[in-house]
Amino acid sequence: MKIGVFVCHCGENISSTVDCLRVADLCKSYSGVEYSVDYKYMCSDPGQKLIKEAIHKYDLDAIVVGSCSPHMHERTFRNAAVSAGINPFMVEIANLREHCSWVHDEIEASTRKAIELMRMAIEKVKRDKPLTKINVPVTKRVLVIGGGIAGIQAALDTANAGYEVVLVEKEPSIGGHMSQLSETFPTLDCSQCILTPRMVEVHQHPRIKLMTYSEVERVEGFIGNFKVTIRKKARHINEENCSGCGLCITKCPIKKKAYNSFEEDLAFRPAVYVPFPQAIPNIPVIDETVCTYYKTGKCGMCLKVCDREAIDFGQKDTIHVADVGAIIVATGYKLYNIEKKSEDSIYKGYGEYGYGKYRDILDGLQFERIASASGPTSGEIKRPSDGRVPKKLAFIQCVGSRDDSKGISYCSKICCMYTAKQAMLYRHKVHDGEAYIFYMDIRAGGKMYEEFVRRAIEEDKVKYIRGRVSRIYEENGKYIVKGEDTIAGMPVEIDADMVVLATAMIPQDDAGSLARKIGIPYDKYGFFNEAHPKLRPVESTTAGIFLAGACQSPKDIPESVSMASAAASKAIILFANDTLEREPVVAKVNEDICAGCFYCMKVCPFGAVEVKDVKDMNGIVYKEVAYINQGVCQGCGTCTATCLSKSIELAGFNNEEIFAEIAAL
């Protein structure tokens, strides 16, 4: 075997602490090394050319590149090798940058370490075998989880590109938080007016299968070939028969037992309900927990009034299975609640704001409902406690956000904008009202955003106070807001009639459990992790699963929509070919020595291990062994390390190769 060695300086990143010339020279003396050279930028065009020419000139079989992390340029050097006629898996990278030059500062020692790293790679490459990529078929259908604006956009884009979509929404209607908003920044156009046409489009699209009041139970399989199990919860309404006339809702005698969650608990709803009049689909749900029929077996008023026989008290949850090739996760966010939290929660509540005991201290979404023409007050700004119009309104930004002591270090990003908008709406509706906003910084980055905030200050006379609020309490029907004006350097006290808290955006409660079901990583808060913060922001680290909207981090509408379109395009790109190429770095079982203990099956995080029958000449099963589905295997190597009989080998990282590396040290 003839090996070529290429030592990169990475400008000065490596060469400032590693004597690259010495490394390259010394490598020449190792057995099997035919050619060895150093160069300033091996990844550059002339650098790659150098590699290709050397492969031809010296008739090399394998190459070792001493450079940056394989995460960065393994693919670059493999491609160079392929174009010169070498199998891409006959290329080894010794990480001389992250593992050596960047973490050491003493030239002699780091040069010696670099030499060791090179020797390891050389010994490994000698034992490498050419591998060929695996081809797997692709099911050209997308699962979109979440029917908010991000899910809607992703579903429409994919469907309009000609692919089938299954859209799963856990609530009875699609629309998400956007359907709750009054008006949107920075244009003040009505949220419902721009959203509902999209919702209808989803409903009527021939290629979108809409499954509301449904949840994803299980996801099996791998990129191009996911098998998804969906639980469709019982609405107790026959969807085919129901015409959406709403008679059951108006006749339901249960009026005030259940809070209306669409109205953010500011109103009640009957036992049979649609979340809001523009709901898609316009089919009600019977809430078993409050419906009299489920408690006493009596009532049945809805049953009597429905002339289409759509009421089905006996309806059960149904399980549906869908085969999809890609998944777009768009599960959105919820708002941080200031209530007292349990000891083990990462969040802390706001005792200083009364832990939610004051009825006129609202969060952002509650204020949206109060400001919304379709809300509980028909758009009139009124206090929930007594219905009076508040003449003095205090807004507090960064409640929860940017406050480590409350458990959240991040900025929720949209609150500066929506608080400005809400203060503006208030001033437009209550002309003699005063609006105060307590803020830490104003973060108004975005097209027309800063101009919007300036408009709130200059035209609508919203009073901005830079400082935190230390306490709120009730006194004679007013809320005393105590804070500090850090610009004036004075304490401030405002006797507000109502307070709106811009509470932090946090992931949905079940974000973590959903992530575990579908196999994608998430951060400590429960936001789903992207594959790369800059270059792969809409992909999860699991191939074929994409992210859209606020489930990844706090986002406003335009950002969520852009991300959804990007995720849709990622799925469409995936579907451009009939089969997918996968890296051949997968585990394989040696059936002759496998004892069938199936420890590998227990440890495999991807569910790639199956049971395989081994038959004798007569076709009789004489033992069961483990079989690894090459399409599912992600090459993590956990099974290899676990296997007691050493009968699993990971291609590209087999025992012989790894031991040779260690022996070279």
Partner: protein
């Protein structure tokens, strides 16, 4: 478990009645403790604004003495003493530099890990049922506003006791005496503290706000657990009256005094006659009880 007792300077002087009532009440409830031999000042406000080393050493000296005496816990009834002791102990625990420095200054090695407890913890730990069982006087007409001040439950990360923003441990104790604890707003607001001497005007305004809020929420007595708070809220009422003529004397009791009253003790025995505002507490409260 042996409780050590650190009275601190206030309880031997301006807050003598706090010491008297504490000893009487604990005696009655069967809680025993030993006073730390040769204890000295905790450093109070002056030390920690003057010299950090000094403030740590003064507090740690007392903790060290308690350890040498074989005690396991230290009861510090004064909120400021409690705060100084627990903060210094925490600093020494978590910063090897400060630990070394303080050990060198005191020529000792800190080995024993003593728990510093405040007055509320003492009663919660020793069992509220003891109070309820030994109750002699009917206090159902007493509507107490429990005032924690700023030091008793703060800083939360160090004291790890109760909820710093909405504490409720004192209410539990007050309710064990049979009195009613009102819900009010100024539980943890500042009374003006040591500004009592240098900026009396600030203290008068802040303390008056506290009393007014208690009254507005239906309280007929303010219950405190800090000598400084008591001084400001009780002694400064005379000056309050000069500035705000409509101000009416309002009773301010130490928590231990309220417990003592519920246990049937005499006002004089509890040292209540040492207060500035002249009240026949037992009578007033009794009358209220009778009225319901």
């Amino acid at each position: 478990m042996r409780y050590g007792y650190f009275p601190g300077c206030s309880l031997t002087s301006s807050a003598k009645e706090y010491d008297i009532s504490l000893r009487k009440v604990t005696d009655k409830l069967g809680i025993t403790f030993e006073e730390i031999n040769d204890w000295s000042c905790c450093g109070a406000t002056s030390a920690h604004v003057t010299n950090h080393k000094l403030s740590a050493a003064l507090a740690m000296r007392n903790i060290m003495l308690a350890g040498q005496q074989g005690l396991d816990n230290i009861i510090a009834p004064c909120a400021a003493c409690y705060n100084r002791l627990i903060i210094s102990q925490n600093e020494v625990k978590n910063h090897s530099g400060i630990r070394k420095e303080t050990e060198d200054l005191l020529s000792v090695k800190f080995e024993k890990d003593l728990k510093i407890i405040n007055i509320l913890e003492l009663f919660l730990k020793s069992g509220l049922n003891k109070i309820t069982e030994k109750r002699k006087r009917e206090l159902s007409g007493v509507k107490a506003a429990c005032y924690y001040g700023c030091l008793l439950v703060r800083p939360a990360a160090i004291t790890k006791f109760d909820d710093a923003e909405q504490p409720e441990s004192m209410e539990k104790i007050v309710e064990a005496t049979g009195a009613y604890a009102v819900d009010w707003n100024y539980k943890t607001e500042c009374c003006g503290a040591a500004h009592s001497i240098s900026r009396r005007d600030i203290v008068i305004d802040l303390s008056k706000k506290i009393i007014d809020d208690a009254i507005a929420h239906g309280a007929n007595v303010l219950v405190v657990a800090c000598p400084m708070c008591h001084t400001n809220l009780d002694m400064r009422q005379r000056a309050m009256k000069r500035k705000y003529p409509e101000h009416k004397n309002f009773p301010v009791l130490y928590l231990t005094e309220l417990i003592g009253l519920s246990l049937g003790m005499d006002e004089k025995d509890l040292g209540i006659d040492l207060h500035y505002s002249n009240f026949k507490y037992a009578d007033t409260l009794m009358n209220n009880s009778a009225k319901g």
